[in-house]
Symmetry: C2
Subunit: 135 residues, 2 copies
């Protein structure tokens, strides 16, 4: 499955920090189409979704989020946790079912840097209970 975690370089200072996310040409960079932010309330789960074309670079800027991926050929699940205290970049390639849950007691905020613009024709959706996972 085309899922990868990349560590970030961060600069800490007395006034606040600088968290690097993505530079042109880095591993996982597949061009730029659109960037947007998803907020998710405590304990809520968003998904399932599968993008036919979109490559995503994901960052959790606030809160704590569990991402679950489903490989429908091997019938296997994969998990990745991202949280604001240990910032990492998550790369998700196309053709992977995924859903995510806010594991924090506050709102979580997710950054999605995508290689294409939003296009509803390249997204498949399933209801949460159509892919059964023990959240």
């Amino acid at each position: 499955m085309k899922i990868k975690i990349y560590k970030q370089k961060n600069i800490f200072s007395q006034k606040g920090n600088v968290l690097t996310f993505l530079k042109k040409g880095q591993n996982g960079y597949k061009g730029f189409g659109e960037i947007y932010f998803s907020t998710i309330k405590p304990k809520k789960i968003k998904g399932w979704k599968k993008h036919k074309k979109m490559n995503m670079n994901i960052f959790v800027i606030s809160g704590k989020v569990k991402f679950v991926f489903y490989d429908d050929k091997r019938k296997k699940f994969y998990k990745k946790n991202l949280n604001e205290n240990n910032p990492k970049r998550l790369f998700i390639g196309p053709n992977i079912w995924f859903a995510f849950k806010n594991m924090s007691s506050k709102k979580s905020i997710i950054v999605n840097f995508s290689n294409i613009k939003h296009n509803k024709n390249e997204v498949l959706n399933k209801k949460l209970n159509q892919i059964k996972f023990n959240w």
Copy 2:
């Protein structure tokens, strides 16, 4: 001065929201070089900085931030406030002195989508008291 505010389209739902930020080709889009996040503690001020080449698209994803710009030819200040409850995109062109203050009682988080990669040779710095502004 090349400063512009662009309104965002947002999608609100029961689980959380989607906040659009920037699409390729939109007004203010000048290519992609790097994206990073700056956090700033309450009441702190970061600045002054002037980029010789960088075009920035800025978003305040959390908190409340006052941006101040200084036009050193006209000796004039300009102000823009961004906050998480009224999300907007702020475009800042090159050759503008700017500084910003966290006006919130919690940490603020700023997204900077830049058209070039970070390069210390294109940044000028001044101490806060070298450009006097009544914060």
